[in-house]
């Protein structure tokens, strides 16, 4: 007789996966952004490349997410955003995000990270205004959601 397992909380999953030091992660990401800035020079190009890299990660990350978290299908966008913020971010980055700034239609929201491991020790110089340093996260979410969208 099979047992139906309910969805697991972000904390539980994070405690059960193998983890690495966040600083290695932070510094590696910094090295990537630095390489992109040197190669591409244009801030917009770097933003696009970061988004693309995030997309590539997202389409593969979603498999692991679904396998480990056991979430059921989300019924609407609100639930999707909550799951991303509470389970997704916790499971991979070890931090919880909050969802705010819903618009009137419920189609647009902001996910806010208080504590972002990607940006530890980072300060942007004036030459990089307009750089979305964490744009890889946008790409990851975009890639992941595209894989599970009903269309």
């Amino acid at each position: 007789m099979s047992r139906v397992v309910g969805p697991r909380s972000g904390d539980a999953i994070f405690a059960s996966v193998e983890r690495v030091n966040a600083e290695l992660f932070t510094l590696t990401y910094g090295a990537i952004v630095r390489q992109l800035l040197t190669d591409l020079e244009e801030v917009d190009e770097v933003n696009k490349q970061l988004d693309q890299m995030g997309y590539n990660i997202g389409i593969r990350l979603i498999d692991e997410f679904l396998a480990k978290s056991n979430v059921t299908r989300c019924v609407d966008f609100r639930e999707t955003a909550e799951v991303i913020a509470k389970v997704g971010f916790k499971m991979f980055l070890g931090v919880t995000a909050s969802v705010t700034n819903w618009d009137a239609d419920g189609t647009c929201c902001s996910i806010v990270l208080e504590d972002n491991p990607l940006v530890d020790f980072v300060e942007l110089p004036d030459t990089c205004q307009g750089l979305y340093y964490c744009n890889i996260l946008s790409g990851v979410i975009r890639g992941a959601l595209e894989m599970v969208s009903p269309l």
Binding site: V17, L61, P117
Partner: protein, 195 residues
């Protein structure tokens, strides 16, 4: 997101308190990120040597920063001046902080005076990577070699650092060895200091 608008939370990032370094992210997050790093660099180069060099350069920047961070946090701002001191710093402290364990072994080269080897059964960065046959001796451990070179260079011990696969009998996956070859001046200084 950071960079959007000119608003900053702290006037200077150096004023922000340094965290204890206990924060963690999942291994898969790091593995995904590292794979993107390698894939991006593959599109930018024509040959294996260039790819290794680019990975090493990326690691070099990480190593320089790791040295500063660890010297301040772990050792109270005291820096190593002796060869064995800096090697055991890399082998134990750096490895422990970055990879969660000390390196498997640290050996002195038998053929040359200036060579040392740090070995690891399975480098963290290589865990989810398999090298296709046509890439020959390419090793993503070049990133780690770059980290080690960054640490040594910033500490005042210039060296050439490379990563090699060493096949082991009875094991399916080869061991990885980081080969460190110190520059002349380091050995001369060491001799002068009475090493």
């Amino acid at each position: 997101m950071i960079g959007v608008g000119k608003m900053k939370q702290y006037s200077n990032v150096l004023d922000k308190p340094l965290n204890k370094g206990k924060q963690e992210v999942s291994l898969s997050a790091f593995a995904f990120l590292f794979s993107e790093l390698v894939q991006y660099n593959q599109t930018q180069v024509d040959n294996i040597a260039e790819l290794e060099r680019r990975l090493e350069d990326a690691g070099y920047a990480v190593g320089a920063r790791v040295l500063e961070l660890l010297c301040h946090r772990e050792k109270g701002n005291r820096k190593e001046t002796r060869l064995l001191g800096i090697l055991s710093f890399v082998h134990s402290t750096v490895w422990k902080v970055l990879f969660g364990k000390v390196a498997d072994s640290l050996e002195k080269g038998t053929e040359h005076e200036d060579e040392y080897m740090i070995s690891e059964k399975e480098l963290l960065v290589n865990r989810f990577i398999s090298i296709p046959k046509d890439m020959g001796t390419f090793n993503c451990g070049a990133f780690v070699a770059g980290i080690v070179r960054g640490v040594l260079d910033s500490a005042g011990f210039p060296a050439v650092v490379t990563a090699h696969f060493v096949p082991m009998e009875g094991q399916q996956r080869p061991r990885t060895t980081i080969l460190i070859k110190f520059a002349e001046e380091v050995l001369r200084r060491e001799a002068r200091l009475g090493g």
